[in-house]
């Protein structure tokens, strides 16, 4: 009976330990979340959302330029990244299948997914900012697009491959060309999956700061010109949080909560779309 007792004691010990680990992890995470909600909601106001950037030491002003800039940069990144990603994913699933080239592209795209984001920023700096001689919103969009493409490639490839081959064969039997089969049959069958992938990839890049630091940089003035340096919520947060001014730090927290709402909202939207698909 002694061995049994020993096993029971060890068992209880480990179970308590892992429950504690789970608690510890959750406490940290909720501490961060609580701080964010407390500081963020406390500094939100209409002025913060609609106002122009404050002067140093000034207690008035807001984040309008950063909110608009962030939206423009992310949207442009999506316009560049989504078609390229979906087309590449389509090639892998419908043309390359398990050929050598397709597998190489798959592996490289998977590797690209985990490249440090700041390295992508340095790459675009060398490619675009240095030759042009100035920072620009477009450069920021390009680096975000590079981070987005592999995610979309992966989900598109996975989703298209889940479409049953019988559907394709039926369309071929009717005399459709490959393009028609893909456009009218395969895409239609997989559309919710592709949309989910796209939404989740936007959520993933929306909160990225590092690739924007030396591509889109920051701008204290409101601009809609993508070829000018452009403010974003993330870089503004970085600059304001490091500043000595109390009001700027508050603005940084306001930007943090706006960004989190945006990213989590997009993320949850993606999950709802996915849920809707697999429920059906």
């Amino acid at each position: 009976m002694d061995a049994f007792k020993k096993r029971k004691i060890i068992n209880n010990f480990v179970l308590v330990l892992s429950t504690l680990a789970a608690l510890l992890g959750l406490i940290w995470l909720f501490w961060i979340l609580g701080t964010l909600l407390y500081k963020g909601l406390g500094s939100l106001s209409l002025e913060v959302i609609l106002g122009d950037p404050p002067a140093p030491g000034d207690n008035h002003g807001g984040l309008k330029h950063a909110i608009v800039g962030q939206t423009l940069i992310v949207l442009t990144a999506a316009v560049i990244g989504i078609p390229l990603g979906i087309l590449a994913g389509t090639y892998l699933s419908e043309y390359g299948k398990s050929s050598r080239i397709a597998n190489i592209v798959r592996d490289l795209s998977d590797i690209m997914m985990s490249i440090p984001s700041i390295v992508v920023g340095t790459f675009i700096y060398a490619l675009m900012v240095k030759p042009l001689g100035h920072f620009s919103g477009l450069a920021g969009s390009l680096s975000l697009a590079i981070m987005m493409i592999p995610i979309i490639v992966r989900t598109t490839d996975d989703m298209l491959r889940m479409v049953p081959p019988e559907l394709r064969e039926a369309a071929y039997a009717l005399g459709a060309t490959k393009f028609r089969v893909i456009k009218d049959v395969v895409y239609r069958a997989a559309i919710t999956g592709i949309i989910t992938g796209v939404i989740l990839s936007v959520a993933r890049i929306g909160g990225e700061t590092a690739p924007l630091l030396f591509t889109s940089f920051n701008n204290n003035f409101f601009t809609l010109n993508m070829l000018q340096p452009m403010a974003s919520l993330t870089v503004t947060m970085y600059d304001y949080a490091m500043s000595p001014y109390k009001y700027w730090q508050e603005l940084a927290w306001a930007a943090a909560i706006l960004l989190t709402f945006g990213v989590l909202g997009t993320n949850i939207l993606g999950r709802i779309v996915a849920h809707y698909k697999f429920k059906k």
């Binding site: 060890i10 480990v14 179970l15 330990l17 892992s18 504690l20 680990a21 789970a22 510890l24 992890g25 940290w28 995470l29 501490w31 961060i32 701080t35 964010l36 500081k39 078609p83 990603g85 087309l87 590449a88 090639y91 892998l92 419908e94 397709a102 592209v105 592996d107 490289l108 795209s109 998977d110 590797i111 690209m112 985990s114 490249i115 440090p116 984001s117 700041i118 390295v119 340095t122 790459f123 060398a126 490619l127 592999p150 490639v153 060309t177 490959k178 393009f179 993933r204 929306g206 909160g207 700061t209 030396f214 940089f217 993330t234 947060m237 943090a256 960004l259 989190t260 990213v263 989590l264």
Partner: protein, 307 residues
Amino acid sequence: MRKDFLADWSFGKIALLSAIAVVVILVALFIVLYRESSLAISTFGVWKFVTSTVWNPPLEKFGGAPAIFGTIVSTIISIAIAVPVAIGIAIFLTEIAPHFLRTPVGVAIELLAAIPSIIYGMWGLFFFAPFMRDKVQPIIHATLGKFPVIGQWFSGYTPGIGLLTASIVLSIMILPFTAAIARDSFKMVPDILKESAYALGATKWDVMKDVVIPYAKLGVIGGIILSLGRALGETMAVTFVMGNQPVIPKSLLEPATSITVTLANEFTEADTDLYLSSLFYLALILFVMSFIVIVVGKFLFLKKVER
């Protein structure tokens, strides 16, 4: 009919070009980083750059050792903290928690993984660093600091910003990611295996130790290596709390730097060609390091799991 054929042909070619573009981007990334850092490579060489601890922009002397040291040490510490806790969370979620708790806690952890890393950094600067300074530092001095050899690693008084603080913030940031992968690997263990073990009278821990962990081993190790890759390249969670001091610190409590921190702080300030080139060199080193880690994680471990 001709129009259909044309569309068919061009769509196929455009899709192929897009797939090739993915490869081109990755190859171009390597070539561009290499070309941009060639000035620093020819000036300092490889071994001298990696081992030199002098980072002095006004004198145009650049050594990568402090940044590389900070990157490696902070990654190792953060993994050492995050992995046991993440496995604890995974065990809790798959074996201990009552069923009505599993989905909400699981979703909460996945959503936490989606929170932008800059927020972890800001929290670290405004809340965790003062906590480290006021509460944790005295405890560390009184306990770990008293040991003969390792004591000096835990000495010194700082404003709470330093290598250890950055490592802990980093570990919290990768925790949800690591926990989610560990949980998914544990979940893939077939119930019938676990039930057989229970039928033989095994306790929960026996089942974990002898059935679940051996079965899920490859997936968990692959997941840990991918977390390692994330920690290596993470910028915003550490930039706020690392201190940006280009030295190899004597104590873990002192300010230090890492490759990502150096890049984030100094890239836009680099005023000479050699300075900029040295920063690109650091970026290239980081790229190669994370490339190796990802390839090992994905292809040595996770590929085997998928098959």
